[in-house]
């Protein structure tokens, strides 16, 4: 029930931003549509086994600035490599695997997307506990799993 309610609220906020109309007709349509979608497909966003919680939401909000800061640092590093005249000496691409402690599918997805978003590393595959990551440099590979995994764990695991 809680999962459906939160899905409904998120959808409604999205509807209001997208429509920008505040008369009765459009709002009623919005509420009806959001109710229908939330009722039939809320499991795409949250599962009843892991209903959304305020703590998870807060954790995610705290995690975002950290992620963005990482993206900025990593982008500058990659910009440096790209502009370096002897670029081929600087890069050392290789595949590597590591096991994660994360249990929930949502937090695994969050970690995989974060790894791909920070330049220098791409998540190739996530299979059960094993992440396959393609790293552009040795430094980028050494930084994983490390702090980012812990932060995701703190934000989304419980």
């Amino acid at each position: 029930m809680k999962a459906k309610l939160v899905t409904f609220v998120i959808l409604l906020i999205f509807w209001i931003i997208m429509s920008g109309m505040f008369d009765g007709f459009h709002l009623t349509l919005g509420v009806l549509c959001c109710l229908l979608v939330a009722f039939f497909s809320n499991h795409l966003l949250f599962t009843e086994a892991h209903p959304p919680s305020l703590r998870g939401c807060l954790g995610f909000v705290v995690y975002l600035p950290y992620l963005f800061w990482q993206i900025i640092i990593a982008n500058i590093q990659v910009a440096f490599i790209v502009l370096h005249p002897r670029m081929l000496d600087k890069i050392d691409p290789h595949l590597f695997r590591f096991d994660t402690v994360l249990k929930r599918p949502l937090s695994k997805v969050a970690l995989a997307q974060s790894i791909t978003l920070t330049p220098g590393t791409i998540t190739v595959d996530v299979h059960d506990e094993q992440f396959t990551v393609y790293a552009l440099t040795k430094d980028a590979a050494d930084a994983l799993p490390g702090e980012m995994e812990q932060r995701v764990a703190r934000a989304l695991e419980r």
């Binding site: 997208m18 790209v82 502009l83 791909t116 330049p119």
Partner: protein, 107 residues
């Protein structure tokens, strides 16, 4: 406000340019994907925030809504772009395209 917006857009364009340069310079498919798929993680957000700010130069409720919509583009890019990069890399690996290693010629 307009000045900040312009600076943000210029910084975004700079990182996009780096991305394009990366696509041209990197040695193989995988490292090119690094440049192609990721420069936009920072660059697109800089450009989008810049445009959203610029849109607010005459402040009204309607403009705030438009700016929010512009910011939503960034949210979708953040979900879609890593997923696409991931799908491309994995497909290439499954098809058996060999990654470039140190000492080999660039392709």
């Amino acid at each position: 406000m307009t000045l900040v917006a312009m600076l943000l857009i210029l910084a975004g364009l700079f990182f996009f340019a780096i991305g394009v340069l990366g696509i041209l310079r990197f040695p193989d498919f995988y490292s090119r994907l690094h440049a192609a798929g990721k420069s936009d993680s920072l660059a697109s957000v800089l450009v989008i925030v810049g445009v959203a700010l610029y849109n607010l130069h005459d402040f009204s409720f309607a403009n705030v809504l438009v700016s929010l919509k512009i910011l939503l583009i960034a949210v979708f890019i953040y979900v879609a772009s890593p997923t696409a990069t991931h799908a491309l890399t994995r497909t290439a690996l499954v098809l058996g395209i060999e990654p470039w290693e140190k000492g080999k010629k660039r392709r």
